[in-house]
Amino acid sequence: MLEIRDLVVSYGAVRALHGVSLRVERGEIVTLIGCNGAGKSTTLRAVSGMVRPASGTIEFEGRSIARMKPHEIVRLGMAHCPEGRGIFANMTVEENLRLGAFTRDDAEGIAADHERALTLFPRLRERLRQSAGTLSGGEQQMLAIGRAILTRPRLLLLDEPSLGLAPQVVRTIFQIIREINAAGTTILLVEQNAHMALKVAHRAYVLEVGKIEMEGPAADLAASDEVRKAYLGVA
C-alpha cells in the first residue's frame, strides 16, 4: 500500500534522513522505532506531505505522492496524527471531530464514524462542547485518534501516541489502535515506546540517525538481543 524508497530529507543544511526505504502492506500495523532525533517523525511528515523530500520516492497505492501537498494527500485516503496531537485548542471537541471529516461529503458515513469514535472514546462524548484546549493529554490523544477515524482513512499515520501519557492510558490507546486496525485501517506507527509498539505491530523497522538499521516481524525484533539492549531496557 505504501512504498518508500531511498528517501532523503533535509532541514536546510541538516540531513535528517539518509535514504530510508520501507513498505507497509494493506491491513498491517507497521511500526518505526528508534530513539529521539532518529528521524521517525520526519519520515511520517514526508509521507503526509508536510515536508518535501530532497530525493527518493513515496508511493501510496501505486501513486507517487512525494511532491503533493498535504491536503491533496489526505484526500487520497490517508490521515496523519502528528506529534503532539495537533488538536485545535481554539475549537470545541465536537468541532475538532467534525474537522476530521472535512474532505468527506457522505453524511451517513460521517454520522456512523462519529458514533464509532464516541463509542471507542466515551470520555469525549461527555466533553463534546468543551474547548479542546482544556482536555488532558490522554483525552487529547483520544480526540486526535477519534478525529482520524472520522477521516475514514485507509492508511493512518500515528506519531508517538504514547508521548506524555500515563501507562494505563497508553494501554488503552494501544488497545484501540488494535481495534481500528482490525476494522480495516492500515497503520504506520512511529513510537519511542518500543515495548508497546512491538507488541501491537505486525512488522517493525528500527531507525537510527536517519537510516534503517533493522527490519522484520515485530516478534522477532522484540526477541533480538540488540533491540532488547538498545530499546527495551533489558541488560
Partner: protein
C-alpha cells in the same frame, strides 16, 4: 441628555464602521499572523470605487433621481472590486513571503500600501481632488428624540454594518468553511492534514476581509460629503484607528474586533464631545498604548505563551 444621545448615535455609527474595517485586520492577522498595513487602502478603494461607479451609473442611465436599488448594486460592485484586489495582493505580494521573517512582511505591506495609494492618486485613476458620491439614500429623518434627529442614512448604515457582522459571525462559527478558517488560523500545518486547502482558505479570508473593507469604504462615502484623495492622511488614520479597535478587542478574534470597533467609536465620540475634539486621535492612540502595555491580548483575546 440630548448631547449624550447624539454622541451615542455618532459613536454607534462610526463604531460600526471601525468594526467592519477592524474585522479585516483581525482576520488577516489571525490567519497569517501579520498586520496588513495595506488594508486601509482597500477601504479607500471601496470608497472611491463606489463613488466612481455610482457616478458612472447615474450618467449612463440618465436618472433624475437615483433608484433605491442603486445603493445595493454599487456596494456589490465595490465588494467585487476590492475582493479582486485583495486576492491579487495576497497571491502576488504576501504568498511568496509565507516563511519570511515578520519584518519583511511588514515592509512588503507598507510597499503594497504605498503602491495602492499612489496608483489611486494618478489622474487616470482617482486623481488628487476630493469628490463626493451621489445621493444613494433618501434624505429623510426617520425619527426624532428630543433634539436628536435619526437620519435614514444612519439607519441604513448601521443596518448594513450589523448585518454584515452577523453574517460573518455566522460564517466563522457555524459553517464548515468557518471551521476551516479557524483551523488554519490556529495551525496551518495541522489544518492541511485535515484536508483543508490552506492556500485557498487564506485567499478566501483575504477576499472576505477586503469585501468588508469595501463595505466600510462605501458607508464612509455615503456618510461624509467629501471623499478625499487616496493618499490623504485621513485614510491612514482611519485604518490605524480600526486597527487599534482590532487590537483592543483581541487581535485575531472576530467578535473582539466588533467589540473593539464599538469601544473605539465610543471613546472617540465621547472624548471629542466632552473633552477636547482636536485630540481625538490622541485618545485612540493612547488607548492602544495602554492596552498593549497592560493587556496585549485585548478584551477577548487569550494570553498565549510563546512556545520555545
Amino acid at each position: 441628555m440630548d448631547q449624550f444621545l447624539q454622541t451615542l448615535m455618532g459613536a454607534l455609527a462610526i463604531g460600526s464602521l471601525y468594526a467592519l474595517i477592524a474585522l479585516g485586520y483581525t482576520m488577516v492577522y489571525g490567519i497569517l499572523k501579520f498586520i496588513n498595513f495595506a488594508h486601509s487602502d482597500v477601504v479607500v478603494l471601496g470608497a472611491w470605487g463606489s463613488l466612481v461607479f455610482a457616478r458612472w451609473a447615474e450618467r449612463t442611465a440618465g436618472w433624475s433621481q437615483t433608484p433605491w436599488y442603486l445603493g445595493g448594486v454599487v456596494l456589490i460592485a465595490a465588494m467585487v472590486l476590492c475582493g479582486t484586489v485583495g486576492f491579487l495582493v495576497e497571491r502576488l505580494a504576501y504568498k511568496p513571503l509565507r516563511r519570511a521573517p515578520r519584518i519583511n512582511v511588514l515592509i512588503t505591506a507598507i510597499g503594497v500600501s504605498l503602491f495602492l495609494q499612489n496608483t489611486g492618486q494618478l489622474e487616470a485613476v482617482f486623481g488628487t481632488r476630493p469628490a463626493s458620491i451621489p445621493r444613494l439614500v433618501g434624505d429623510r429623518t426617520i425619527a426624532q428624540i428630543g433634539l436628536v434627529k435619526i437620519e435614514m442614512l444612519d439607519v441604513v448604515g448601521l443596518f448594513t454594518a450589523l448585518s454584515f457582522m452577523l453574517g460573518l459571525d455566522w460564517l466563522v462559527f457555524r459553517t464548515k468553511i468557518g471551521r476551516a478558517m479557524r483551523a488554519v488560523s490556529f495551525n496551518p500545518q495541522t489544518a492541511g492534514l485535515m484536508g483543508v486547502p490552506v492556500d485557498r482558505v487564506i485567499s478566501f479570508t483575504f477576499v472576505l476581509g477586503s469585501m468588508l473593507a469595501a463595505t466600510g469604504g462605501f458607508l464612509w462615502a455615503l456618510k461624509y460629503s467629501q471623499v478625499n484623495q487616496p493618499a490623504d492622511t485621513g485614510w491612514t488614520l482611519l485604518g490605524l484607528k480600526a486597527f487599534v479597535a482590532a487590537v483592543v478587542g483581541g487581535i485575531g478574534n472576530v467578535r473582539g474586533a466588533m467589540l473593539g470597533g464599538l469601544a473605539i467609536g465610543l471613546l472617540e465620540q465621547f472624548g471629542s464631545a466632552y473633552l477636547s475634539s482636536s485630540l481625538s486621535d490622541v485618545y485612540v492612540f493612547s488607548l492602544l498604548i495602554v492596552v498593549l502595555l497592560f493587556r496585549p491580548s485585548g478584551i477577548l483575546g487569550s494570553t498565549a505563551v510563546e512556545k520555545v
